[in-house]
Amino acid sequence: MIKNNDKISENQLSILLFTTMLGAGILSLPSDVTKAAGPNGLIVILLGGILALIFARFICRIASIFPTETFVEYSAKLMTKPVSVILSIFLVAYFLIFCSLNLRIFGEVAKSYLLNSTPIEVIMITLLFTSGYIVRYGIEPIARLSEILFPIMVIPTMIILLPAITDIDLSNFLPILRISPLKLLKGILLTAYSFVGFEILYVIFPYIQLENKLKKSINISFFSIIFFYIYVTFYTMGIFGYKETSVQLWPLLTVIKSINFPGFFIENLESLIMGIWTFAVFTSISAFHYAATLSLSKLIKAREHTYLVIPLIPIIYFLALIPDSIVEVYKYASYASILTLFFVIILPILMFIAIKLRGKGMKNNEEN
């Protein structure tokens, strides 16, 4: 009770990872997946998720060799200082970019479905300042908030989709696996991009209370989100078929629009879902915001990360305003997926190699 030590438990970690990964990406997930792989969408999600899981475990493995240091510090040990500084700046930029992507997509959806006449800038600024409020307190409140918001955002969504089960046509999922392996691979890499969020593990590792259940909690978190994505994509592909899904912008909302609870006291369910979805996007944004603030503070050796929270808000805001329309947003998102490739796949491999190369040197450091 009074033993609070600002660390998050491993249960909280798995929920935090889940809510960070579950952001604005899910709205367009079914269309991305069907564009890449046709009717094999579900399989691609599963494989993409497992790929992301493998690399998340990879990052964990690397981070657990330096349990009290964030990326900024241990990359300086593994690679030389200048390389590490450049990589850290890229990491900060990475978090900021994904934060602003989430923000912009959410702003567009909110403007279309919730608040038609409010300027999108207002929607984004208010969400950013709310995020800034919680980021100032550190990672533990963010994890606790995720714990509380997690059932509120997941359970209503899953329940609301249930009536649509009658419209599902299972033949929409055929033919299975009649697709070239290259295309499948491309599809998997594309879906791995939907699992963006676990890179915060690079920086929050020192704040985890390690109790030897780390692997299990990461597994649970990934399989939960894979299940949730499959659940949502199952409904969209089942109702619309893969060709229709691939041309829609936000298939999930279209599905919910078609659902009608007779006699319910709310009619346009998709606005309600968008309201609840604010929580999901908020947890993603605040987690990325925090990761960026923390990395930046370690980089410039600030005493506390709280000073940097407010200065980063205008940066995220202007990044979010760069694309002119929703079409450009998704264009920029596809560029950003290349960055994901680098940070999630290439960088851990490089660092692992660096660890092996400096094997003995590292062991000496550990003993010290």
Binding site: M1, I2, K3, N4, N5, D6, K7, S9, N11, Q12, A110, L114, L115, T118, V122, I123, T126, L127, T130, Y133, I134, Y137, G138, I139, P141, R144, L145, E147, I148, L149, P206, Y207, F264, F265, I266, E267, N268, S271, L272, G275, I276, T278, F279, F282, R303, E304, H305, T306
Partner: protein
């Protein structure tokens, strides 16, 4: 992380430092060395008369005892605070009449009349001796009687408290249908006795201290020694001892002086008028604070979930109690966001309202000159005024003004065209919901936040309400009540504790104390499974055979 710890430590230090500075700067009262009781009774009485001059309710009674009335004693007490019976029967009667009949030997009397008097003469129950005149004065002013003996450097304090007090009545703010109907009164000793009737364990401790420089109010800490978390206990003792204020008028003062976050609208300790609630909390491992002159006890630590618990939940069976709990949580959400949802839906998302209702609302709101936000604000403000007025009116009028007045004024407002009828209903339902929250302090917090939510809804609709929830949840998530996160057990999820929050699980599941309190002794109940009573079946069979 480390920085946050340092920041918190700094905050603690600031709290402590302030108190120390105050003690040094303006402390004329305590710095003077307190004089000791002198052997000459006249000097002692002169000192006391000096200190207590111009107080005409202090009585000085001289007595002479001994075979030749050679020893002078003096009684000092406050008229109105003492039980005259004790003084007349047990002190003066014994001293004046019985000593003459007791006949101790002349040598004993000559040597030590004081010991004789102290040990044999006073037939009252509770006596002690002190040699500090200021402490003696404090005792006199608390209702004890001081007995001075000429030639002896000590004074005997006889406990003789007996003033007019309110009898034990049902608690007015926390009525239950099933359960005890005793509530605390304003006298500390009566209150501690009430709690002791529930717990007869020798490990149940009642530790008293005095707080307040001029009021010297008795404050009692109640806890069970082998259950409570020792760190928590020492933290609370420290905080109480750091209080440096002239007078403690109510438990609210103590609450505000020792709580950690005074910015928050949410109460960080529970206050209750019921001794059974205090006993139950103490048995769980919490600490209760009873304060003289206040019928409200404080229970530390508390979480948001305890604010929704009523003692009745435990006395009735689990199914109905679980449903009532869920009802209360729903009521809290309605009390918080009721008017805001109305504002958001009518101003920003009319598409979300069922078509028939939307048309009806449009029709009724046609004549209303104000936008939904102003309408809601006017009705809510009127209702708050009515509520505040209802408290001060005498009981017969107060009841009627509250409910009937609200509805009638609402109806009149509708007919005048200021508000729409749906608004009146929303406000009425919101008000009723806020009354169903068991803890008054929590209900006040929700009342306050309701206006903030209305503002958010007016600016940003449903999105604004969601942002409002996020901000409120962020605040709650960071708030700690004496080290316990305010939203336990929803946060740092602990399944066994959850059994007592959203629902009330059957008693058989309450085998362990709340894990979040980190108590010393974890188990509170043995496996309670009623064994199958096979013998009853056999009896019935026997009866059937007999009938045939």
């Amino acid at each position: 992380m480390l920085a946050k710890g340092v920041f918190l430590l700094g905050l603690f230090n600031k709290l402590f430092k302030n108190n120390k500075n105050n003690k040094n700067s303006n402390d004329e009262y305590k710095d003077v060395e307190s004089p000791k009781v002198k052997e000459n009774i006249e000097e002692n009485i002169k000192y006391i008369k000096d200190m207590l001059k111009d107080s005409d309710d202090i009585i000085y009674r001289e007595i002479w005892v001994g075979e030749e009335f050679q020893h002078k004693l003096e009684l000092v007490f406050v008229d109105g605070l003492v039980d005259k019976n004790i003084i007349n029967e047990h002190v003066m009667h014994s001293l004046m009449l019985d000593t003459r009949q007791a006949k101790p030997s002349i040598e004993e009397i000559k040597k030590n009349i004081y010991e004789v008097i102290k040990k044999a003469a006073i037939t009252g129950g509770d006596i002690k001796e002190i040699d500090d005149l200021d402490k003696c004065i404090t005792s006199i002013l608390s209702g004890d009687t001081a007995l001075f003996l000429d030639g002896h450097p000590k004074v005997v304090i006889i406990s003789s408290r007996g003033w007019q007090m309110r009898s034990v009545t049902p608690p007015e703010t926390e009525m239950v249908v099933r359960g005890a109907r005793e509530g605390f009164t304003e006298t500390l000793r009566v209150n501690t006795a009430l709690v002791r009737r529930w717990i007869r364990d020798p490990k149940f401790k009642i530790k008293q201290m005095q707080i307040g420089k001029r009021s010297k109010t008795d404050v009692a800490l109640l806890y069970i020694d082998d259950i409570v978390n020792k760190d928590l206990l020492s933290l609370i003792k420290e905080r109480l001892q750091q209080i440096d204020i002239d007078g403690i008028l109510e438990s609210g003062y103590v609450e505000q002086l020792i709580e950690e976050d005074w910015h928050s609208p949410f109460p960080q300790m529970l206050n209750t008028e019921r001794p059974d609630k205090v006993a139950a909390s103490v048995l769980e491992g919490r600490i209760a604070i009873l304060i003289d002159n206040s019928p409200f006890a404080l229970i530390i630590p508390t979480t948001l979930a305890t604010l929704f618990q009523s003692p009745e939940d435990y006395f009735e069976r689990w199914m109905i109690s679980s449903l009532l709990r869920i009802l209360r949580f729903t009521a809290a959400i309605i009390a918080l966001a009721g008017p805001s949802i109305y504002i958001a839906f009518t101003s920003y998302h009319p598409g979300m309202i069922p078509t028939k209702l939307a048309l009806y609302i449009a029709a009724t709101r046609q004549g209303v000159p104000f936008p939904a936000f102003m309408e809601a604000l006017i009705m809510e403000a009127t209702f708050e005024l009515l509520r505040e007025a209802g408290i001060r009116l005498p009981v017969p009028i107060g009841q009627t003004i509250g409910i009937v007045g609200g509805l009638i004024i609402g109806q009149a407002a509708v007919m005048a065209g200021i508000v729409s009828p749906l608004m009146v209903i929303v406000v009425a339902v919101t008000a009723v919901s806020s009354f169903s929250i068991p803890s008054y302090s929590a209900a006040i917090a929700f009342r306050l936040l309701r206006f903030a939510f209305m503002l958010f809804a007016a600016v940003l609709g449903l999105y604004g309400i969601m942002l409002g929830f996020i901000l409120m949840l962020t605040h709650l998530v960071v708030l700690k009540s004496f080290g316990l996160p305010y939203l336990s057990p929803f946060v740092e999820v602990n399944l066994s504790d959850l059994a007592d929050t959203l629902i009330r699980a059957p008693l058989m599941m309450f085998k362990r104390r709340p894990a979040t309190l980190d108590t010393q002794n974890k188990k509170r109940m043995k496996d309670l499974r009623p064994e199958k009573i096979e013998s009853m079946e056999i009896d019935r069979r026997d009866n059937n055979d007999k009938k045939q």
